[in-house]
C-alpha cells in the first residue's frame, strides 16, 4: 500500500509539474506561447481585422469591428454623427483565439452570394500577410462560417443590433450603404424595372 501511495504521490507531483509548465508558458505573451492553443507557429499572435456591416432593408446599418490588437468595437446604428449605442473593449486571448479560428474558416470558405433574407451583412476579413476575404450573405441560424463568426462577434457586444422589421421587402440590398441612400435606390429600382421586386 505504501508503494502504491508513493507511486501516486510521485505521479501527482509530475502531473502538477506539467500543469505548472503549461500555465507558465501560456502566461508569457511575449513569446510564441503555447503553439497548441492557437492556429499559428512562431512569432507573435496575429489577430484578423474583421469588419461587418449589418442591416435590414429598411433599417439603418450597424457596424461591428475587430481590430488587429484584439479590440472589438460597435456602432449601432452607424450613421449620423452620434450612434445610439457604441463601445469598444479588448477581448480576452481565449475569445480572440476562437474568433481567429472562425475567421480562418471564413477565409477558406470564400465569399457567399447573398440570398433573400430579412437581415443581410457584408463582412471583410484581413489577416496580416494574406489576401483579404469578403462575405456578403443573409444572416440566418443555419451554419455557415460567416454566420458563425458574426454570431460569435455579436455575443461579445452587450448592445442589441438595430434591425427593424421591414414589410414586403424581397430585394437584395447593400448593407454597407447608408439607409437613406439604400432606400432611395431600392424604391427607384422597384418603380422602374423589376415587377418581382428584385434588384
Amino acid at each position: 500500500m505504501k508503494i502504491v501511495n508513493c507511486i501516486l504521490s510521485r505521479t501527482a507531483l509530475a502531473l502538477l509539474g506539467v500543469v505548472w509548465v503549461c500555465v507558465a508558458v501560456a502566461a508569457d505573451n511575449e513569446k510564441p506561447a503555447n503553439p497548441f492553443d492557437y492556429n499559428f507557429c512562431g512569432g507573435e499572435r496575429v489577430y484578423p481585422i474583421v469588419g461587418v456591416n449589418i442591416a435590414t432593408a429598411c433599417g439603418p446599418r450597424n457596424q461591428i469591428a475587430l481590430g488587429r490588437r484584439g479590440k472589438i468595437s460597435w456602432f449601432y446604428p452607424a450613421h449620423g454623427s452620434e450612434p445610439e449605442k457604441k463601445g469598444s473593449y479588448r477581448l480576452e486571448d481565449e475569445q480572440l483565439a476562437k474568433l481567429s479560428l472562425l475567421a480562418e474558416v471564413v477565409m477558406v470558405s470564400g465569399s457567399q452570394q447573398p440570398d433573400h433574407g430579412s437581415v443581410l451583412y457584408k463582412m471583410g476579413i484581413n489577416f496580416s500577410a494574406r489576401k483579404p476575404a469578403y462575405v456578403y450573405a443573409s444572416l440566418t441560424d443555419e451554419y455557415t462560417p460567416g454566420n458563425k463568426l458574426l454570431q460569435a462577434m455579436r455575443s461579445h457586444v452587450p448592445d442589441e443590433l438595430k434591425l427593424p422589421e421591414c414589410q414586403d421587402f424581397l430585394s437584395l440590398f447593400d448593407p454597407t450603404m447608408r439607409m437613406e441612400d439604400r432606400l432611395q435606390l431600392i424604391n427607384a429600382s422597384q418603380q422602374s424595372v423589376d415587377p418581382t421586386g428584385n434588384l
Binding site: 501527482a12 492553443d37 512569432g43 477558406v108 451554419y143
Partner: protein, 197 residues
C-alpha cells in the same frame, strides 16, 4: 496524497476541455466545417520518392493534409505525432485514407529529408514538395500563412506558419479544418460523419 492525484487529474482534464472547446458544434462536426466546401485547384508537385504528382491527388480517398517543414522545432513534430496516433487508432480503416505532409520549405527540404522525416512517424504519411512557386500556389489554395524571417546567411532562416490539419473528402473538396489542439477522437468522429454525409 490520493487527493493530490485527484486534484492533478481534475486540473489536467479542465485544461484539456478548455483548450479544445467546441469550435462549431452546430455544424455537426467537431472541427471547423468549411461551408460551402472548397474545390482545390491541383498543383504540379512531387512526393517524397521524387515522383511527380498533381496535388491534391484525385484517387477517391479522403485525405489529411498538414503544412510544415522538417526543421520545424515544435508544432510539426507534435502534429505528426498526432497523425501517427490517428493512424494507429483507425487501424485498417486508415488504409482508405491518405496522409500528407507538405513542405513549406522546398529550398531546404530535399525529398530524402522529407522521406526520412515523415517515415519516422508512420510510413503511411507521404511528404510533398516541389517548386517554390507551386508550393506557394498550394498554400494560397488552403489559405495558409507562411512568413520567413531571414537570419545571417542565405539558409539561416526560420519560418512561421499556420498549423491547421485539413480534411479533404473523397472528391477532393476541402471540408474540415482542425486546430493543432484537436483531440484525435474528435477527428475520428468527423471521419465517420463525413463518410455518412
Amino acid at each position: 496524497m490520493k487527493s493530490q492525484t485527484v486534484k492533478a487529474v481534475m486540473i489536467i482534464t479542465a485544461m484539456l476541455l478548455f483548450n479544445h472547446g467546441s469550435y462549431a458544434a452546430d455544424s455537426g462536426y467537431e472541427g471547423l466545417l468549411v461551408e460551402p466546401a472548397k474545390k482545390l485547384n491541383s498543383q504540379p508537385l512531387m512526393n517524397h520518392e521524387g515522383k511527380p504528382v498533381d496535388f491534391p491527388v484525385s484517387n477517391g480517398h479522403m485525405k489529411f493534409v498538414f503544412f510544415g517543414y522538417t526543421g520545424c522545432p515544435d508544432v510539426c513534430p507534435m502534429t505528426l505525432q498526432k497523425i501517427k496516433t490517428l493512424i494507429r487508432k483507425l487501424g485498417e480503416e486508415a488504409n482508405d485514407l491518405d496522409f500528407y505532409f507538405v513542405s513549406i520549405d522546398p529550398q531546404r527540404d530535399s525529398t530524402d529529408q522529407l522521406k526520412s522525416f515523415v517515415s519516422y512517424y508512420d510510413p503511411k504519411i507521404t511528404g510533398i514538395t516541389g517548386e517554390p512557386r507551386s508550393i506557394k500556389a498550394l498554400e494560397n489554395e488552403f489559405g495558409i500563412l507562411t512568413r520567413r524571417f531571414q537570419g545571417k546567411s542565405a539558409f539561416a532562416y526560420t519560418l512561421e506558419h499556420s498549423v491547421f490539419i485539413y480534411l479533404l473528402d473523397s472528391q477532393g473538396y476541402l471540408r474540415v479544418m482542425y486546430p493543432a489542439s484537436i483531440p484525435v477522437g474528435a477527428i475520428i468522429n468527423d471521419i465517420e460523419r463525413l463518410k455518412n454525409s
